[in-house]
């Protein structure tokens, strides 16, 4: 490989190249600028930002109460009064989608704060200690990975009973293995680095090294991985909602909105079309963002 590298990137600098160590903040700003320079990842940033605004300012943006039924206006087509039409109880679909963004963010947030630490802990311990701890953890990870995640989540929700929190737990249970694998791989490369060895020589305990040195170094790539994961989380949550196993009515969760709209979809397409488009848009945004972040960190896979 090295030969290929030298042929591809010979150093023509002849000492002209100036190396200035950038500060962390400057690096972040530079990376963010680079991220926004690519129109694809920039649009991801924009949509995610919009989603956040939508969730925070939902009462200001929504035109109606998302739970307010109006049986005189059931299943009315999109109009000026109801931008995205109304559902079978006459509730305003636009407002329900606006409030649904809160549910979506809630799910993403919970799954991420469960999966991140668990994956990090298992991965770093596995990588750092090696031996039987590593084998045991990795076998368990393998078993979880050998199931397709949706089916496993289905089985868990079936066991725990339907509901939003149960869906979150089920998704988290299926989402940690890739994170753990990543953390393990990172730890393996860090384990023998000079600064870790130096800390060991100073007498730092294993746990201190794990939490103060290795975990911190794993964080950036972990965050990228979690961002890319969010799209999958959204889709799985929506699928569970669609099968009636996730959020329960009348909560305006996008997947369950599609599920109930299904009975009326041939006559009233807007019941299904708009919530689905919302799911697609948000998961696309996270995919674009994750893609851009990955390119930034690892230009080879561009």
């Amino acid at each position: 490989m090295r030969n290929v590298e030298t042929i591809k990137n010979p150093d023509y600098g002849m000492g002209l190249r100036v190396n200035v160590e950038p500060t962390r903040k400057a690096l972040f700003v530079k990376s963010f600028k680079k991220l926004c320079k690519n129109p694809l990842s920039a649009s991801g940033v924009v949509i995610v930002t919009l989603l956040l605004i939508l969730a925070i300012a939902a009462p200001l943006i929504a035109t109606h109460d998302p739970l307010q039924q109006d049986l005189a206006r059931t299943l009315s087509a999109p109009s000026i009064a109801h931008w995205f039409g109304t559902d079978e109880y006459g509730r305003d679909i636009f407002s329900r989608i606006v409030y649904g963004s809160r549910v979506t963010l809630y799910i993403i947030f919970l799954v991420t704060i469960i999966v991140g630490p668990i994956g990090l802990l298992i991965g770093t311990m596995s990588g750092y200690f090696g031996g039987w701890i590593d084998s045991a953890f990795m076998r368990v990870t393998d078993i979880f990975i050998s199931f397709p995640s949706l089916v496993l989540a289905l089985a868990f929700v079936a066991a725990l009973g339907p509901g939003l929190e149960h869906a979150v737990i089920a998704i988290a249970l299926t989402a940690w293995p890739p994170v753990a694998r990543l953390a393990r791989a990172e730890t393996l490369t860090l384990r023998n680095s000079d600064y870790v060895v130096a800390a060991q020589l100073q007498g730092a305990s294993s746990f201190r090294i794990l939490f103060h040195y290795i975990s911190l170094m794993c964080l950036p790539s972990l965050i990228v991985r979690l961002t890319m994961n969010m799209a999958t989380v959204i889709l799985t949550a929506a699928a569970l909602g669609f099968l009636g196993l996730g959020a329960q009515p009348p909560l305006p969760e996008w997947g369950s909105m599609i599920s109930t709209g299904r009975s009326y979809m041939l006559e009233s397409w807007w019941l299904v079309a708009f919530p689905g488009a919302a799911i697609m848009l948000v998961s696309l945004a996270f995919n674009l963002l994750g893609d851009g972040l990955r390119d930034l960190l690892d230009p080879r896979t561009e």
Binding site: N3, V4, T6, I7, P10, D11, Y12, M14
Partner: protein, 276 residues
């Protein structure tokens, strides 16, 4: 007769930090001879070789006053014309057979392919020619090696296969890009001898890109010394010891020798003015 004329060749690459000049105003003519291009890594010597075959990546910009192969202007060649030159008229031996041979094609298929691209011959004839060629590069059991995959043969053998592949269409020019530097020292000389013998017998002009002055001195007729993308000196190989340019002199002086005892080898001095 001049086979190849290069005048004021410039190659630069577009990078994130702007244009990088890799080759600046390189000019030379190639007759029926063995011409060496030497220089340290990053001096642009390989880039010159690739530019002749238009093999530089699309991120590069190649300009020249003249890039003439016989009566064909390479600069204005379209894709099809350059393809008919590649292999058939100008071919190139790469550095490391471990990477430059296709890992999932048998050695023999790769050699006969080089022939079948340009000539309308049957599979069987191509195979016969390839086996004959393998014999010519001193491979003892050509029929057997023909059916082997690149990972099954040694590096020296791989480079001989590479030579066979590039010589078989009988081109006018071969560009050899550090053909021995990836090889085990013990087989380097064998491979060079085979290359030398074939080139002389088949009347092929050779451009030998290398960083190894000792090798070049013995093996080639003429030497271009490159530094920082420029040709700093063009000199007959047997006159190398009388080189005038300080960079060439520096290179010569930093060669260790088995015959005489020497002091600490001097550090090469560099001067931005050479690039002016």
């Amino acid at each position: 007769m001049d086979v190849l004329t290069v005048e004021k060749l410039n190659v630069s690459f577009r990078t994130d930090e702007g244009l990088k000049h890799a080759v600046r105003d390189v000019s030379f003519t190639l007759k029926n001879e063995k011409l060496a291009i030497v220089g340290e890594s990053g001096s642009g010597k390989s880039t010159v070789g690739k530019a002749i075959l238009k093999l530089n990546p699309s991120s590069s910009i190649v300009t020249a006053d003249k890039l003439q192969f016989k009566d064909c202007n390479i600069l204005t060649c379209n894709d099809r014309q350059i393809r008919s030159i590649r292999g058939q008229h100008i071919s190139m031996i790469m550095q490391d057979p471990k990477f430059s041979l296709n890992p999932v094609m048998t050695v023999g298929d790769q050699i006969s392919e080089a022939l079948r691209v340009h000539q309308k011959i049957t599979r069987h004839e191509a195979k016969k020619a390839a086996i004959k060629m393998l014999h010519e590069v001193s491979i003892s059991d050509p029929e057997y090696v023909y059916g082997q995959y690149p990972h099954e043969i040694s590096g020296g053998m791989g480079q001989r296969v590479m030579i066979a592949m590039m010589v078989i269409p009988e081109p006018d020019i071969i560009i050899a890009d550090e053909p021995t530097s990836a090889l085990d020292v013990s087989v380097q000389q064998d491979v060079l001898n085979i290359l030398n013998e074939l080139v002389e017998r088949k009347n092929i002009s050779l451009i030998f890109v290398s960083h190894d002055l000792n090798l070049v001195k013995k093996f080639c007729d003429r030497v271009l010394v490159m530094y920082g993308g420029k040709v700093v000196e063009s000199i007959k190989a047997n006159a190398l010891s009388n080189a005038t340019h300080p960079y060439t002199r520096g290179l010569m002086e930093s060669l260790p020798s088995l015959k005489h005892r020497r002091d600490v080898l001097p550090v090469l001095s560099r001067d931005q003015q050479w690039l002016a």
